[in-house]
Amino acid sequence: MMEDNSPKVISDKIPFYRDVRFLKVFFQILFIIGIILLAGFLYSNMLNGLSRQGIELNLTFLNSEAGFELSEGIDFEPSETFLKAFWVGIVNTLKVSILGIFSATAIGFFFGIARLSSNWLIRQIASVYVECFRNIPLVLQIVFWYAIMLVLPVVRESISFFDSIFINVRGVYLPALEGTAGLILWLWYLLSGIIIAIIVVLGLAAFRYFFQSRELHATSRPSFISNIIFGAKWVAAPTFLIIAIVGWFLTPEVPFELSRPEFRGFNFVGGMNFSPEFTALLIGLAVYTSAFIAEVVRSGIQAVVKGQREAARSVGLKESQVLRLVVVPQAIPVIVPPLTSQYLNLAKNSSLAIFIGFPDLFQVGEIMMSQTGQSIPIFAMIMVSYLIMSLTTSAFMNWYNHRITRIGRSR
């Protein structure tokens, strides 16, 4: 070989089995092939098994008659299809999840802040609440609340609050706003109000942009967008409000009326009714999740540095103002990501409804499986439904989090 004093340079020719670039791609391809083979094997295995049992994999059964009843939810007859039954389940799950998320958030914030109170008694009560409810299995709690619902007084001896809320063994009866015949007409007024407001704002913005501000200096000339925002605030909102109010009085019948539950014959009529199953599930989910949310809120508040409270106190703010104006706004960005997980947990935990016979998504799916034997497509439908709900929730929460953390805070 050649001998010289220059440093040795390793040749460009690398054998492929040592070439990092090759190896990277090679192993990825190998991995993908492996996965495809595995999935294919499982799928063909499943098809074989199904054909041996004489089951065909398709979704046509969804259009056949369900033949079973559902105890609650939107109106449903046994003569309607499986698809409709599944939809009833979805709506029930959504209803309990959304109400649960709102109540859990309110209770959770209350106890989270209470745990940091300077009042010893309040602090202890909050600690006991949190430690009790987050350390008992959720199924037990739901069954416990259901048991309580079932030993409530009979309809005739309902517990009543202000003569408008009634609690008895058939559930909870609450007053509700009900749309009357005038509602449709009023909604038309609202729609026309929105359209008029949009036209007025766009016209005004265009006018201001092209004519009124022409003589202004180029830099101080307001942009088209800022004109629209200005118009929306000072013109559109009042216009819309006026039309809404005038419309309210123009409709012959008041669009909404308060419907109160009333005792007639053997039961309550009017208002809205939460069944014992729904109530037990809602209380169980809300209370259990609120204990976790309380901890999330507490940790978020504690993450705000001490100097912030001191500065707020030193300008003379009262303790409640310190919390509301300085501490909580800074705690929210810390709270939101773990709060999202709690919301997702609550929605998924609502499938425990099956233990007390509330017809949620999962329970309706179970019934459908036993009626049709189509367990695989139904399972897939249930999973996809939960997935869509969860992904929607986290997408919304991520958007919210992004919006509130965008403002300059790079401490």
């Binding site: 100097g307 912030q308 001191e310 500065a311 707020a312 106190r313 030193s314 300008v315 003379g316 703010l317 009262k318 103002q321 104006l325 300085v326 706004p329 800074q330 403002i407 300059g408 805070r409 790079s410 401490r411």
Partner: protein, 253 residues
Amino acid sequence: MTENENTTNDPIIICEDVHKWFDDFHVLKGITTTFKKGEKAVICGPSGSGKSTFIRTINRLEEHQRGTIIVDGIELSNDLRNINLIRQEVGMVFQQFNLFPHLTNIKNITLGPIQVRKMSKNAAEEAALALLERMDIADQAYKYPAEISGGQQQRVAIARALAMEPKIMLFDEPTSALDPEMISEVLDVMRELAHSGMTMLVVTHEMGFAREVADRIMFFDEGVVIEEAPPADFFDNPQHERTKLFISQTLQH
């Protein structure tokens, strides 16, 4: 005792035998002193000597456990109303600025006047802009604290304290967290404030500022005031061994 024409003989802060413990640690061991209206007192001493704790007791960021503190005729007791009244009279500037990061600079300043003094939003913003003008940073009004330099942040913090129109200003090591080239812009503002007649209690290691502005220098060590004197006497003729050591160490560089 002073060359400063602003200082009067009316006492504004009266401290009598003030004691403070952090658990077992005796931080303040009986501080007795009086600050006069318009007086500028510089408080210095080694770290852990209780100097920060002392000025923090004056607006009740720290509670004193024995003795009395009377601020502008109001006794600092456990009466919530008194504490709130005193906090409105006393402005404070912190070492770490402690601006509210979720509010723009001008909102940082108007928060107190609007929420506590119940000023209208317009009046408060006008006053805030005037203060920012005085601090020479009017162009930073609508930025967030994270978007401006440390020296500018500290000046916003001073404006925030002044917006409440306090009678007394407390400074807790206002320049210690600043880069060297930003220290002077903050000291300039404090100098200007001193000339306007504000009563100021300043914990600082800036001995040049102390010599120039202070009516009195108080030297803290292990929770007691071991020496206090006008700057000329303090620097040129210190009485106590501990003070001499401190002065020789701080003036070395």
